[in-house]
């Protein structure tokens, strides 16, 4: 490892250690904000893992997130916590493989619509089941998990997403996805099994989203399908990732932090017009900064570099 890489790794480890200390200094409100940010960091980064390189826009985020939450609502009281998480992971992985195999042949707008439809379908299925079989729409989530523990688990999940993403980027799979994102026909003609590559990555990304949902479930104490499968979550994740920039793994974080704060503010000020506000934020971001904040920063660095070069 070069000296520069060592410094980066140590700095990142230090950052994680600092973040782990947040619960000991934050008050209740701040901790809940930190949990919110951490949750969206996991979701938006997991989203970018797949959608960044392939440029397939998925609105299924909340389908997986909600399935994770429901796994906890159903099994949380009966099984040990690590086992519950494992089961959530497995369910998310299997379902995403199934979805991936059946949809990743679709391209462009068809894929977007399908993923949106999927989230709605899962919500309707759960609703139907609860109404007709269990005969109660909502569930209480009784598990012995403190707010601090939720935060730490999300932090661990965020670290896992980043490490996996980093490993994938350096792997053949990572290159395969970039080739697919650039030109799918070329990808096939250099021997890439494009369907397989996309499905594997989609499943990876969805499993993290499912785990985030499972970890977040104890926050609510009460959940019903409308809460767990709220489509606004999928849109928020999309907007955050786009604002931050999806061509870098760390890009979404730059969108998550400002937007989590903004959404918090909007939700408090305009509870009845929240969805419209989210929509407007979305339009502004896509028009004003198509390459995201990270793209802006890199563009500025490049211009500065050129300016210096021109003067020298």
């Amino acid at each position: 490892m070069s000296a520069r890489n060592l410094v980066i790794v140590l700095a990142l480890a230090g950052l994680v250690a600092l973040l782990a200390l947040v619960p000991s200094v934050a008050n209740g409100y701040q901790l809940s904000l930190a949990i919110n940010i951490m949750n969206y960091t996991v979701l938006a980064t997991a989203w970018t893992l797949f959608s960044g390189p392939t440029r397939y826009v998925s609105l299924a985020t909340v389908a997986f997130f909600g399935i994770g939450a429901y796994t906890v609502a159903v099994l949380g009281e009966v099984l040990a916590w690590p086992l519950v998480l494992l089961i959530a992971f497995v369910i998310g992985f299997m379902l995403s493989l199934l979805v991936g195999l059946s949809t990743l042949r679709l391209s462009g707008v068809y894929f977007v619509i399908f993923t949106f439809g999927l989230a709605e379908l899962v919500r309707q299925l759960v609703t139907w089941y609860e109404v007709n079989v269990t005969r109660t729409l909502g569930r209480y989530v009784f598990v012995d998990i403190t707010t601090e523990q939720i935060y730490w688990q999300l932090l661990a999940l965020a670290v896992a997403v980043f490490i996996s993403g980093w490993l994938i980027q350096r792997s053949k799979l990572g290159l395969a996805l970039r080739v697919i994102g650039d030109d799918e026909a070329v990808a096939r003609h250099v021997g890439i099994n494009t369907t397989m590559a996309k499905v594997v990555l989609f499943a990876f990304s969805a499993s993290f989203m499912t785990l985030a949902g499972a970890v977040m479930a104890p926050r609510w104490t009460y959940i019903d399908p409308a809460i767990a499968f709220n489509p606004v979550v999928s849109f928020q994740v999309l907007i955050m990732a786009l604002l931050g920039g999806v061509h870098r793994l760390y890009g979404p974080v730059f969108g998550v932090i400002p937007l989590a704060l903004l959404f918090e503010f909007l939700l408090a000020k305009f509870p009845n017009h929240f969805s419209i506000m989210v929509g407007i934020a979305f339009l502004l971001i896509v028009y004003a900064i198509p390459r995201g904040i990270v793209g802006l920063i890199e563009g500025a660095q490049l211009s500065l570099h050129r300016l210096k070069g021109a003067k020298a």
């Binding site: 290159l175 395969a176 970039r178 994102g181 070329v186 003609h189 250099v190 021997g191 890439i192």
Partner: protein, 243 residues
């Protein structure tokens, strides 16, 4: 005479009512450079698309060393040893030249990765005359350099059969001379090539044999000299005198 590397028979492809490729048969033997000629719209690109699996055929067979290709998906055909370039050049826009070549090295049957791929990519860039541009983004390349890069990516796959679709089109005279030399050097190392081409000089100096298509059908085959003198070929290129 050696057994054919590629043999195609009865190959047919329709687009709606149009029969773009109509019962075409052809053969390419190991080490040969074979030309595929014909006026615009005669079905040449479609034939290459069918061989490489970009399109599925409506009938006929395509065999590489006796293995049937016509049912395989494009990525499997690539792994069987078929590489191609595109009539409208296709480079990977978000990557450097070197990464483009590595994309050709990493996924084939003789997959190379890491240090080994990096070295091989460099050699291939030298080969096509792009050594100094290894870390340049492909979007900054000139048209000829993009074509060179596309060829390097195809060669990276160490294909048994290389398909070139008007690779020499749009080059100025100097570039054309370089391009012809480059393809000639491929023959010297024993590559087998099926090339769609309009540039007569290139056809005469490079091709061992040619097939000529018109309106989806094969109308002539033989040495470049013979087919270019064939009255039906001349009529096809100049348009029907009676029409």
């Amino acid at each position: 005479m050696s057994a054919p590397l590629l043999s195609i028979s009865g190959l047919t492809r329709r687009f709606g009512g149009l029969v773009a490729v109509d019962g075409v048969a052809l053969e390419v033997r190991p080490g040969e450079i074979v030309g595929l000629l014909g006026p615009n719209g005669s079905g040449k690109t479609t034939v290459l698309n069918l061989i490489s699996g970009a399109l599925k055929s409506d009938g006929g067979s395509i065999q590489l060393r006796g293995r049937a290709l016509e049912k395989l998906p494009a990525y499997r055909i690539a792994r069987e040893g078929v590489a191609r370039t595109f009539q409208l050049v296709r480079v990977l826009g978000s990557m450097t030249c070197k990464e483009n070549v590595i994309a050709g090295l990493a996924f084939g049957p003789k997959s190379r990765w890491g240090e080994e791929a990096s070295l091989a990519a460099h050699q291939l860039l030298v080969r096509v005359g792009l050594a100094s541009r290894a870390n340049v983004m492909t979007s900054e390349l000139t048209y000829i350099d993009q074509k060179r890069l596309e060829l390097a990516r195809a060669l990276a796959m160490q294909p048994e059969l290389l398909l070139l679709d008007e690779w020499l089109a749009g080059l100025n005279p100097t570039e054309l001379r370089d391009g012809i030399e480059l393809i000639r050097s491929l023959r010297a190392e024993g590559r087998t090539i099926l090339m769609v081409e309009h540039v007569m000089d290139a056809i005469r100096s490079l091709c061992d044999r040619c097939y000529v298509m018109n309106a989806g059908r094969k109308i002539a085959e033989g040495t470049p000299k013979d087919v270019l003198a064939d009255p039906e070929v001349i009529r096809a290129y100049l348009g029907d005198a009676d029409a």
